[in-house]
Every structure is written in structure tokens, then in C-alpha cells.
């Protein structure tokens, strides 16, 4: 098509035919829908990335503090809990550590019992959500061995919300190496049966709480018990 012909069409004042209008509308609609979809997807992704980022920022320090504590867990020296981990199941981990190494009082200088426990909150889209709580129990009498602990925690902290876990996808798993050097997994244990050397953490957090497109922040850690 020549430029002159285009100039003629431009100068023409006959208007547009219905067909032309329909075609233009159709094309515009298609392009609009695509653009809106892209924009929606972009907003959705950006929002989710922000949510993931926020979740990661929340999870990292909590996970780090948990790892630091688990790896230095110690046995309290009685027959009921003579290993660094005194109880483990998919939603619960009990260890003993000195949470206040700079402390001066006898109670604070001794090993405290630290319990990590999932507490159910809401069901979202058929998935049970949990809070991850940290509970610290003080020894009843730090000068008497073996140590015994108060029934009620002296401190309870909600570490994380919207945690997803189940017996099939456990938050905590134990492991040890048998005499042949083969790693053996331990799903649950208590007391003297908790002779494990490693704790594995599989943390899943749903940052969006959307049921239509749930995307979950996942992180795995293996923690070797230094005193195990």
C-alpha cells in the first residue's frame, strides 16, 4: 500500500464499517484480556514473592535459633532422658540446653527443658495449619540430680504461624547410624530410646493462605547433635 493511498484513507470521512469496528473491538478485547491477565499474573507473582520473602525473613532467624539450640542439646543425666533429645515425634521435639549461658542464678545456670510443639490453629482449604511454639521449662531444683522440671513452662513463644505438617510429612525426624554405618530414620522416640545423632527438620509454611493456588515455602535442615 502506498503512502499516498494511506493519506487518502486518513483524509476520508466516511467512518468505519461495522465489520471494521467489530474487528477492532475484537482485537482490542483480546489484547486487553491478555494484558490484564499478564498484569494480574504479575501482581499475583509479585505479591506472592513479597509474601515468600516476608516468610523467609521470619523463618530464617527462628530456624537458625532452633538449629543452634538443637545441635548443642545435652543429656540431663537420668535414666529417663539420658540423651540430648528426650522426646521426638512428627510435631514435637524435646531437648535440654542451657538457654542462658551467661546467667548467674543457679536455676538459669542449669539445663532447661526446651520443647518445640506444633499447635493446631485453623483448617485452610482442608489443610490443617499449626503454630510452632517454643516452651521453656525450668528445673525444679537445680542442685538435685537427676534434674526434674516444672509441669508448666516458664516461657512460651510462638515462633511461626501457618506451619503445615503431618505424620506423613513430619516437621521433626530423628536419625542415627547403625553399626554398619547405614543411616536409620527414627519417626518417634521417648526417654532412653532417643539415642539419635541427628535431627532432621522439614519446615513448610503457607505464606498466602490461598486455597486456589497454594504455594508453600519449604526448607529442610539436618542438625547433627554435637553431644549425641
Amino acid at each position: 500500500m502506498s503512502i499516498r493511498r494511506l493519506q487518502r484513507i486518513w483524509r476520508a470521512e466516511e467512518g468505519l464499517t461495522l465489520t471494521e469496528l467489530l474487528v477492532v473491538s475484537l482485537v482490542t478485547s483480546i489484547v486487553g484480556v491478555i494484558l490484564l491477565g499478564m498484569m494480574g499474573s504479575l501482581f499475583n507473582n509479585v505479591g506472592f514473592q513479597f509474601a515468600l520473602g516476608d516468610t523467609q525473613s521470619e523463618v530464617r532467624p527462628e530456624l537458625r535459633s532452633m538449629i543452634v539450640r538443637i545441635r548443642q542439646a545435652q543429656a540431663v543425666g537420668n535414666t529417663a532422658a539420658d540423651d540430648p533429645v528426650s522426646a521426638l515425634s512428627w510435631d514435637r521435639l524435646v531437648i535440654h540446653i542451657d538457654t542462658t549461658p551467661s546467667a548467674t542464678t543457679a536455676v538459669e545456670q542449669e539445663l532447661e527443658k526446651v520443647e518445640y510443639q506444633l499447635v493446631p490453629t485453623i483448617i485452610n482449604g482442608g489443610i490443617q495449619m499449626y503454630q510452632l511454639e517454643r516452651r521453656i521449662y525450668d528445673p525444679l531444683n537445680p542442685t538435685v540430680r537427676p534434674l526434674n522440671y516444672a509441669a508448666a513452662p516458664s516461657e512460651t513463644t510462638v515462633m511461626l504461624d501457618n506451619v503445615i505438617a503431618s505424620a506423613a510429612q513430619p516437621l521433626f525426624t530423628g536419625a542415627y547410624f547403625d553399626a554398619a554405618g547405614v543411616e536409620q530414620s527414627v519417626a518417634s522416640c521417648a526417654g532412653i530410646n532417643c539415642d539419635i545423632t541427628q535431627v532432621e527438620i522439614f519446615l513448610q509454611v503457607d505464606p498466602s493462605l490461598t486455597t486456589d493456588n497454594p504455594r508453600i515455602y519449604e526448607i529442610e535442615e539436618e542438625v547433627r547433635l554435637r553431644n549425641g
Binding site: W10, Q49, Q56, R64, T79, P101, A179
Partner: protein, 554 residues
């Protein structure tokens, strides 16, 4: 009529604004996402540096633990390269002002010290140690941003007082390590006690059944590969273990626990992973032989030697030494005493009154410092202690010189293929016990024998050692060697402070009226050099991350 040219120009303007708006929107998103990514990256980098620092710090701790496993007294032999400068504070030894720079030898008599900063380059800042594997820029003098630098402090083991077994004053070797990456702020501090579970941590180990008789009051751990029985019931302040049953349990004091394999007490497997089998110790014993003969120890391997006598003593300068004598003749059977049993009774160059005109005819062979690796191996029956040699001290006051241990040594006689005995021929005492870091391990590939004539006029035989009779048992010689009449004076007493491990049980009770089998509490935290380990490795106790100590500059 509308001027379409103007409209077209205006549309150009609208398009520009639209495009700019869109670009601004997209740019904002990109900026926000970039900011988010940067924050994430900063967090990750920080985390990575923390992880690298803790990994490097722990690596140096493990390196130190490995050294201690090979040389249990490494901490009193050397000031490690990564340590701060030591200053001796031990009032028991005359070492006022004695200091030890990193990577230098330490005087092993001093076991109480403090630390000061090292600043060899005089730049006003303490010097940190960079291990070559953690020195990213390859220049140990320049602390690069990715280099991991370390400083550590070592606290020697603290020992229980044997006089107060109920009071727990002991503590194992403790090492505190601080690591940093370059000049960054994320420094990490960890500390741990390094423990290697040694055979010498038990006051008594047998592979077969073990029965304690009247008045057995134990202060150390006991292990039996069979059944364990206390007749009548005694007491113990430490855990007891039996692979079979504990037939009669002693009174368990101070939270002592009983473990068995019969399901009647705590499960023995929860504490001792695999049953102790003396056959498993041969590998450890081969290592001692290799360390003695190829690793800087003392290797007594003359083909014509029929016996060796090793006399530990303190010389006039206060140094611990080992005087060695050699015998080259082969005794024949005399009456009811066979040629092997002859050594039990005639291991001293003296007229014993029992077998006239015979003695070992020792000839001086050499006078040695304690070997750095603590390993001594002999190829023949080996006598420990000389009661009447010129060098020596009579600490026990029984008129006979004692074997005085002022160093750490493990003496191993024979091999699995050619088993030899160790004959204890004198009171064997640790210098400055129980405040000393020195230990002695006596290992016979065959049996451990006490020469009854070493009891002396005080009717007390004293033994401060960890002993291992690999093939059979430990015994006191009688006038027919293994059998016959007792040769120890009436109402004699055996005082042991140590650890006794024999495959079979002993033959002691008929020769000593009173027998005191005490655990040397130091052996809970010390082991004689290269003495067999139960699980072949060291472990941590009280591993913990700590706040930075005050001497660390931020």
C-alpha cells in the same frame, strides 16, 4: 472539522505518557523486586558467613580433638598454634613467669595456666591464627575478608579427690574456640569437652563372668562380658554393666546405675554400643607397637633379648626417665616352676631366697627420656620396676625402691602371635598423684603378674596404673609360679588405684589378705598414651555455642 493531524500529534503525546507510566510501573516493580532480592541476598550472605565461620571454628576444635586422641596429654606437651599465649600459674611447680607462645612446647609439669594476648607483629592488635585451609587469600599475615581466623583457650582436666568419691569435682579437658571471618562482626564462640572413652575408664573389665566377694566397695565403672555378682552385696558409686545378668546388685550410690543384657536392669546397649571383645583390642595394640618402633617411641626389639626390665624413676634434676635393662639367657624349669614362671619370681637381680643362685642377670641397656608419643614396645617378657637398682626412690617407705612415673607412657609386651607377660616388680606410683597429669599403662599380650617379693616389709603392694592382660588374667606368683604356696607376707594388703582389664578373672585373693581395688578418678578424663578406646573415636561433651568471651575484640 477536527484537525486530524493535531489529534495525531496529541495521540503521540498520550502514547508517550502511557508508555512512561507503564515504564514507571514496571520499573517500580523491578525496583521493589530487586530490593527484595538484595535483602534476601544480604540475609543469605550473612547466613553463609555465619555458617562458614562456625564451620571453620568447629574444624579447628575437631583438629584439636584429633590431636588429643593421638596424644592424650597434647595439651600439656604443646601450646597449639591456635592458642593464645599461656602463662603458668601452678603453685606446685617452680615455674613462675613461665610462658608458652603458640606453636611451642609446654612444660608438662604445669597444669594450671592463664592466657594473655599475643602480638608478635606489634601492631597493637592480638594475633589470630589462620589455618592454611581456612586462609582464602593465601597470606597468613594478611587477614582477608574471606579468611577465617581462630583463637582458642584450653582448660586441662580437673580431677576428683579420691578421698571424697561422693563429691563430683572432676571435669574433662575443655577447649573454647572463637572464630571470625575477616574483620566482619559475625564472630562465633564454641566450647566443648573432648572425651575419648577408653578402656581405662573402667576400674574392672573382664570378658567372662565376674564375682566380687566380701566388702567390695567400688568407686569406678565395672564391666563383665558375662554375669556380674556381688556376694555379699557391696556398694558402688559408679555404673555397673553386665552383658549377661547382674545376679546380685550392689547398693547403688550417687546415682550409679545398673545395666545388663538380660532385661532386668537398664539396657546395656543404651550405654555400650557393642559388647567389649578383647580380640578387638589387637588393632589398638598393633598401633602402640607401630608408634614405638616407627613413630618415635622406644622399641625394644633385640633378637637375643629374653627379658626386659624397665625402671621408671625421677633423676636428680627432677626429670622423669626410663632406665632399661636387658636379659639374654633362657632360664630352664626349676622344680615346679617352669621357664616362663621363672620370670615371675626372679625378675630382680637379687637372691630371692626361693630359688637359689638364679636371677635375671640384667645388663644396663639404656636410659631414656619418656618418648613424646608415650609408646614403648618390647619383644620379650617385661619386668616393671627395679627395687634395688642405684636409681630410684622409696616413696612408699617399705625399704624397696618404687617405680616412680613422672611422664606418660604405655608399655606393651609381645604381640598376638608371640604373647609375653608383664611382671610388676615394685610398688608403682605416679609422681605427685593424684594431682598429676601423668599416667602409665601396662599391657601384656599374655598375662599381668605381680612379683610377691615386691610387697616389701610394709606388707603393702601399691599399684597406680591401668593394666591390660590381653589373653588371660592377672595374678600374684606363688612358689610354684601359678600354683603352690603364697609368697607374700601374712596379712598383706594390695592397694590399687587404677584400672584392671583382663580377659579372664584374676588370682589375687589367695596372696593378699586385704585387697583395695580403687579407681583412679583421673582416668575418667585421662588415658595412658594410645591405650585402647572402646569405640575407636573421641566424642564431645557439653558442646555449646557461647557469648563471645571478654578477650575477643569486637
Amino acid at each position: 472539522m477536527v484537525d486530524l493531524r493535531t489529534v495525531r500529534k496529541e495521540e503521540r503525546g498520550a502514547a508517550l505518557i502511557t508508555v512512561i507510566g507503564a515504564l514507571l510501573l514496571v520499573g517500580t516493580f523491578v525496583l521493589l523486586l530487586s530490593q527484595l532480592s538484595l535483602n534476601e541476598q544480604r540475609q543469605s550472605d550473612f547466613q553463609e558467613r555465619e555458617d562458614s565461620t562456625i564451620a571453620g571454628t568447629e574444624a579447628l576444635l575437631e583438629r584439636y580433638a584429633a590431636k588429643v586422641t593421638l596424644d592424650p596429654l597434647y595439651y600439656v606437651h604443646y601450646v597449639d598454634e591456635a592458642e593464645r599465649q599461656r602463662v603458668c600459674n601452678d603453685p606446685a611447680v617452680d615455674m613462675t613467669g613461665y610462658t608458652g607462645l603458640p606453636a611451642s612446647a609446654w612444660n608438662s609439669e604445669c597444669d594450671d595456666w592463664s592466657y594473655v594476648d599475643v602480638d608478635l607483629d606489634a601492631d597493637g592488635n592480638p594475633d589470630w591464627y589462620e589455618h592454611p585451609l581456612l586462609d582464602a587469600n593465601g597470606d597468613p599475615a594478611d587477614l582477608g575478608t574471606d579468611d577465617i581466623a581462630i583463637l582458642m583457650e584450653v582448660t586441662p582436666p580437673q580431677f576428683d579427690d579420691p578421698a571424697t568419691p561422693a563429691v563430683d569435682e572432676g571435669a574433662p579437658l575443655n577447649v573454647a574456640v572463637v572464630g571470625r571471618m575477616g574483620d566482619r562482626i559475625n564472630q562465633r564462640s564454641i566450647s566443648a569437652s573432648i572425651v575419648a572413652t577408653s578402656l581405662s575408664e573402667f576400674v574392672r573389665v573382664t570378658e567372662l563372668n565376674l564375682t566380687y566377694g566380701s566388702g567390695a566397695n567400688l568407686t569406678g565403672k565395672v564391666y563383665s562380658g558375662g554375669n556380674l555378682d556381688f556376694v555379699p552385696v557391696g556398694t558402688t558409686t559408679a555404673d555397673i554393666f553386665a552383658e549377661g545378668s547382674i545376679l546380685r546388685e550392689p547398693t547403688l550410690l550417687n546415682n550409679a546405675r545398673a545395666f545388663d543384657g538380660a532385661g532386668e536392669h537398664n539396657d546395656i546397649r543404651s550405654e555400650i554400643e557393642i559388647p567389649l571383645n578383647f580380640s578387638n583390642f589387637w588393632d589398638d595394640l598393633n598401633v602402640i607397637q607401630a608408634a614405638a618402633c616407627g613413630g618415635g617411641g622406644i622399641c625394644l626389639d633385640d633378637a637375643d633379648a629374653t627379658g626386659w626390665l624397665i625402671h621408671p624413676y625421677e633423676d636428680g634434676l627432677g626429670e622423669g626417665r626410663l632406665s632399661v635393662y636387658k636379659a639374654t639367657f633362657s632360664p630352664s624349669s626349676q622344680g615346679c616352676v617352669n621357664s616362663e614362671e621363672w620370670w615371675y619370681l626372679n625378675s630382680e637381680a637379687e637372691f630371692t631366697g626361693q630359688i637359689a643362685d638364679f636371677n635375671a642377670l640384667w645388663t644396663p641397656y639404656g636410659d631414656y627420656e619418656y618418648p613424646r608419643n608415650g609408646a614403648v614396645w618390647t619383644n620379650a617378657h617385661t619386668t616393671i620396676g627395679a627395687r634395688n637398682q642405684p636409681e630410684g626412690t622409696d616413696i612408699s617407705g617399705d625399704g624397696l625402691d618404687d617405680a616412680v612415673i613422672k611422664g606418660s607412657v604405655t608399655i606393651y609386651a609381645g604381640t598376638q602371635a608371640a604373647p609375653k607377660n608383664v611382671i610388676i616388680n615394685a610398688d608403682t606410683r605416679i609422681w605427685n598423684w593424684p594431682d598429676s597429669q601423668f599416667t602409665i599403662g601396662l599391657i601384656a599380650s599374655d598375662e599381668i603378674v605381680i612379683n610377691p617379693f615386691a610387697t616389701g616389709g610394709d606388707r603393702h603392694f601399691q599399684l597406680q596404673a591401668a593394666i591390660l592382660g590381653q589373653t588371660d588374667r592377672w595374678l600374684v606368683a606363688r612358689d610354684c609360679g601359678l600354683g603352690g604356696s603364697r609368697l607374700t607376707p601374712n596379712n598383706s594388703t594390695l592397694d590399687v588405684f587404677g584400672s584392671i582389664a583382663t580377659k579372664s578373672t584374676g588370682s589375687i585373693s589367695g596372696s593378699f589378705t586385704t585387697r583395695n581395688y580403687n579407681f583412679d578418678p583421673r582416668l575418667e578424663y585421662l588415658r595412658p598414651p594410645l591405650y585402647p578406646l572402646l569405640d575407636g573415636n573421641w566424642r564431645y561433651e557439653n558442646w555449646s555455642e557461647n557469648p563471645l568471651p571478654g578477650w575477643v575484640n569486637p
